[in-house]
Amino acid sequence: MTLQDSITTALKGLQATKSRSALTVLGIVIGISAIILMMALGSGAESLILNQIGGLGAETIVIRPGKEPSGPSDFGSTLFANSLKNRDVEALSRKENAPHIVEVMPTLVVPGSVSYEGETYQPSIIGGSVDFFSEAFQVYVQDGVTFDDADIRQNANVAVIGAKVKEELFGLSDALGQNIAIKNRKFRVVGVFPKKGQVGFFNFDELVIVPYTTAQLYLLGIDYYHEIIVKAESPGVVPRTVNDIEATLRETHNIADPKDDDFFVVTQQALVEQVQVIIGALTLFLSSVVAIALVVGGIGVMNIMLVSVTERTREIGLRKALGATQKDILLQFLLEAIILTGIGGVIGITIGGVLAFGASLIVQATFSSDWTFVFPISAVVLGVGVSTAVGFVFGIYPARQASKKSPIEALRYE
């Protein structure tokens, strides 16, 4: 018997009990479509987050105060930690301490709003260096100028604003040279970013950047920084530079044991790996929950195949009398199970894909327009593989039962 004959025979067997086959395969359809949905959403979330992180160049290193958070409750301590100060910036800027650092920028986040002639808007106010932002994110001031190191040294009251901020406060009129108020302090608008939307961690349209010195001194009244961002020469020297940074800061902070570190270093690579690990674990967890559905579906298939084998005892006996070997019968019933679950898999992949597409539309509309619909080819391969494997695993037992039937017993069966 050729394989094609076996497949034709199996298909005819399934056709004879169409509605039963359809119901049997439902469990597989649900399981596979859920897996596809999980994987598509997981990939979508991963690419969304990685895209946002990806805006920061691979040579960027972020230093945060406090202990490295190992759980959600640790984030609070990071927010209020005050261990990063100007001496750290100075120490890191010295070539003998960290030879591969090109630039060091402290940053601060200023809560609050900006206003201009009665118009008020709530942007993200960052104390930093516009040049550093421009370099790191490749977004350059379009109208006007940036503020420079001299402005930073002199705690100048200048600001560069995003396109949306400009539109909200000034409408169509010119913003350059005008004074906006942040926490009752006047800042002169020297530059406006072009409309760029989300780049890296920041939505540039919603950004107001002021010199970090001014933010620290006049807006927040603190002597520490929220973050220090460092740019290394190239991605290749990042690991070495991380070591340099840690050594330098331990020295300035008088820390002997790395366990007592009151800062931690986040690199692009580590961040990417972290996100991948988290999303991978989440996807795996959800998929294993879904796998239970597949096992239940598989048992359903086995059950129906056993019923079918019993019902068709006479047919099996006849086929054997006409020359079918055990192998022929085994293959016939095994193929029935595999084709059944395989069809379920294909339907499941289709439904899962449609659901994932629908979900991505909803996410785009409600949360983030940067969400992209990802339909991983690995999910298709996995879906087909898993569904046929389920057919094999749960079909082999009924098929063996069928193949072992003695022809005379089977022919006598009523």
């Binding site: 006996g317 006849l318 086929r319 022809p407």
Partner: protein, 236 residues
Amino acid sequence: MALIELENVEKTYDDGTQALRGISFRIEKGDFVAIMGPSGSGKSTVLHILGFLDRHTKGTYRFEGKTIDDYSDEELAHIRNQKMGFVFQAFNLLPRATVLENVMLPLLYSSTRPSLREQMAKEAIEAVGLSHRLGHLSSELSGGEKQRVAIARALVNKPEVIFADEPTGNLDSASGKIIMEILEDLNEKHGHTILLITHETYTAETAKRIVHILDGKVEGDNGVNQRRRAHDSFVK
């Protein structure tokens, strides 16, 4: 060399029932033998053993001169497919398959090229006079027609021997007569060896020879002196 040769063949089932207690007979190529006996005599067991559907427990069975003990189940399935045809009392057709598909079934398990199968099946169906029913589902046929399809299926591989187990048992006399005519015809005109199992004397007497079996033993093995012709004397 006899086509079939049984020597003191015994069959004891797992539960201890002894169905055959030393059966010996030969069937030559081209013969037409009826095996007769009341129900429970062991005649069906003989047919199962002859058709490789079951294995004997003692004695020797030679098919075409070779002892079958040496064959594996797979080899027996192959020989069964190539050299034996079966006609059952209960027809045993696949109800949801057409006449053509039913007759083609043994060819699926042979090495016949797919392109030849349909032609071979059509020839066999023509031989039993059912060419006009090719595309009908077997469940749509009358009993007599079903048995003719079964004969066509038994013929399709051009077997050495056709085993017919009470082939007229489920049929009215008119249909039974047609079936017997076909079997007679296959033996006389086409030289097929036929082994017929029956408990009816008038059916058995269409054969050339009758082997009587009683309580698992051969009671008599005689040629039929006055053979009946299925055509004019087969009446139930």
